[in-house]
Symmetry: C2
Subunit: 187 residues, 2 copies
């Protein structure tokens, strides 16, 4: 078994390209491996199936989010701790605008992938709620701050993906958190 330089990244790029060209359902693992210049066996060393290529970053994202919420200043309010977590996540997407755009349109075209994305977002809410509880935040504030923060992240992410200036994601999140504050205040 020869070591393949950046096999994971090559498989991801090949998969995203093929899903975009032929559609997610129509693309086979054999085609992805071929496009990446690798074998199916190598594909399955990195991913359990072709859907997982689009969600393989979820676990790392959860860990990063939990750690950044935990690491926020002790004086930070619950929503500010969530914002610290989202800022860390935003950095990961720096320079990945085009990838995010392609991934987003593949997911938008497939109901099963949309469901998987909802499950991912719900798991981010759980992770943030748990991190806030560990900071001593009581219920329902912990869950509400997590729900509101992830909702703002989701809205901000879609707005960031839809624009073409390739600006950073973080300012979009900041703006959305401010808009959320205004909206929930009832003005």
């Amino acid at each position: 078994m020869r070591w393949q330089p950046n096999a994971r990244g090559r498989l991801e790029q090949a998969a995203i390209a093929l899903y975009g060209e032929s559609g997610f359902e129509q693309t086979t693992v054999a085609e992805i491996a071929k496009r990446a210049g690798l074998t199916e066996r190598t594909f399955f060393r990195y991913f359990t199936d072709k859907r997982e290529v689009l969600f393989s970053g979820s676990e790392a994202l959860k860990t990063l989010l939990a750690e950044a919420v935990a690491g926020a200043a002790a004086s930070a309010s619950p929503i500010d701790a969530v914002a610290a977590g989202l800022k860390a996540v935003a950095l990961v997407f720096s320079g990945r605008h085009e990838y995010a755009r392609q991934r987003g349109s593949i997911i938008a075209a497939n109901a099963e992938l949309q469901e998987r994305e909802l499950i991912k977002l719900a798991s981010l809410v759980s992770v943030v709620t748990e991190a806030l509880r560990r900071r001593g935040v009581m219920e329902p504030a912990a869950r509400l701050a997590a729900e509101a923060g992830i909702a703002a992240f989701h809205v901000a992410f879609e707005r960031w993906v839809d624009q073409t200036d390739q600006k950073d994601l973080w300012p979009f999140i900041q703006e959305t958190l401010v808009a959320l504050k205004t909206v929930t205040a009832g003005h």
Copy 2:
């Protein structure tokens, strides 16, 4: 084909009882029909499958929510229009605490049902967003008010289900909307 008085309600009650006793996966449509004193054929006149028994109210809920958001006072802020929608929904659950509790524990025990519940909540967010847009609310306020309102509803609903006083759902929603306002303000 004889008309069966309240066949739908009898099937729902039988299904909920059996899912609680034997588990959702283990229960068959034949058993549900038998417990209700009806035939499988009658079951399939009302529900496409055994999962649908737990989600058959979704469409009516969406319509009710959309109409109540649309019907809120013209002067109502976006979040107050959402609150008007949630108040209408809360009335539907008046006297249905025990049903909600049983349904909740069945769903909590099954990953597939939890996914279906997430999809239902996401569809409520879409319906509310659309109703707010029709009121002239701009983006991202429409989507954020819908996301925040449905998140508050979800949290309030679980708190209502968990308590045993059988109080009305609406005060739980009101309290949660106030808590959400405090949380997003960053205090």
